[in-house]
Amino acid sequence: MANDSFKKGLEGLDAGAAGSPQEEPGVPPQAGELPAHPSIEALREEFGDAVLRHEVVAGDEHIVYVPPQRARDVLAWLKDAPGHQYDFLQDLTAIDWGNGRSIQVVYQLWSTRSKLNLRVKVELPLDSLEIDTVYYLWRAADWLEREVFDMFGVVFTGHPDLRRILMPYNYAEGHPLRKDFPLRGRFSRAEQTRRSLSMQTEDHYSPRELEIAHVLGQTLPTPFDEAGSADQQGQFGGMGGAG
């Protein structure tokens, strides 16, 4: 038996790639052929025109485009509506397509209840990069929104602690992941070195980041105070960064 399979393998080698059975070139599945995403229709019923566009990519990845003014309402509804309950914000990021096109803010949602994926995109024109925060819906948005703010310059109104998270606090060259950002930065290397060496890092870490927040009795901003989760915050090291 082993010998047979060995021989077969040798023949396959001789035949080369051409000898292997050709597969039919894959036809990308159309949205209509797949089971409809239950949240899309529900969103259309609930919000009507606020669902600007619906796309299906990579087989079954559903994308919903919503206007920036309605984004927070739509996301809040998606989080709490029975049967949907997207309780897990997997990712919050942004895309700059360049050439002056709008920056897309991307919310990747997962529902642990109904086992559903959904991607919500919001397009922000370059002259008004502002959108409501979802910090109070998913705490995961805290650092993710700070990162998008740092890298793309999108302002999340209502975020309790919106400051740079990756770049140094005194970084003045803009937002590095924007397409119009030069690869080596805007300042000369000498200026970049001088600025970085003049930083006083201690002045810009909050007590919460130094893991002594629970010692100082610091509490979280509303509404988490009322939920009594301030103790829990300390238990996890107080790295929330919401000082």
Binding site: P182, L183, R186, F187, T193, L197, S198, T201
Partner: protein, 230 residues
């Protein structure tokens, strides 16, 4: 005069010293230079401060582990406190955000102290010729030995350490002059002049070559003429 096994300590046995050495109880003595004794002690008991930020740190750990055994060179103890260290091994890339940290660590190390820049990123920025990376830590702290490689093999790091030991062996600790230059780190500035920093870290015409738009340069930054967009 003879050389012992421990790296060139010149020793004169006392005239008429009896056979049996210093532990025999008989009066015996050695004469040598203070510089030689101090250097011999320093070079064979370096306490490295590992500053590992990337893959080079893995090789540094391998160097300290059993197969290569850094302890053979007197580095029994990796010092994770800069105040008890005299050899900074910067292994890995350093961002501008990290630059004040490594500068602070260097300043916290007591004299005498030496620095090894391990790997391409620490020495020159390596492939990371981008907005966030320090283009060589010699713009931040004075470096004694550069170890090339991406990452260097443990043998490479050990050779660098041996070079540091050689440098120590050839130094004159009784001469105050040697340490004066190291004392004077400019406050909040590079150890090199601006023009040198720009020159050292200028693009080399590789695949990421990019001209800096002159209109965007602010704060009086120095930009080379060749970097300006026509």
């Amino acid at each position: 005069m003879g050389l012992n096994d421990q790296g060139g300590l010149p020793v004169h046995a006392g005239a008429g010293a009896p056979q049996g050495g210093i532990f025999s109880g008989a009066p015996s003595f050695l004469t040598t230079r203070v510089d030689a004794v101090v250097n011999w002690a320093r070079e064979n008991s370096l306490w490295p401060m590992p500053f590992g930020t990337a893959c080079c740190a893995i090789e540094m750990m391998a160097t300290a582990a059993t197969r290569y055994d850094l302890a053979r060179f007197g580095m029994e103890r990796m010092s994770f406190s800069p105040r008890q260290a005299d050899l900074l091994i910067c292994a890995g890339r350093v961002t501008y955000k990290m630059a004040p940290v490594i500068r602070r660590i260097w300043e916290q190390m007591p004299e005498p102290k030496w620095a090894i820049s391990m790997g391409a990123c620490a020495s020159s920025g390596g492939v990371f010729d981008v907005y966030s990376m320090v283009q060589g830590i010699d713009t931040i702290i004075p470096v004694d030995v550069y170890v090339p490689g991406c990452p260097p093999r443990p043998e490479g790091l050990m050779y660098g350490i041996l070079l540091v030991q050689e440098k120590i062996r050839n130094s004159q600790p009784t001469s105050r002059r040697e340490w004066k230059a190291a004392d004077a780190l400019p406050e909040g500035g590079s150890v090199l002049p601006d023009e040198v920093v720009d020159h050292l870290t200028a693009p080399f015409g590789n695949s990421t070559r990019q001209n800096r738009p002159s209109g965007l340069v602010s704060t009086g930054a120095v930009v080379r003429a060749s970097d300006r967009r026509p």
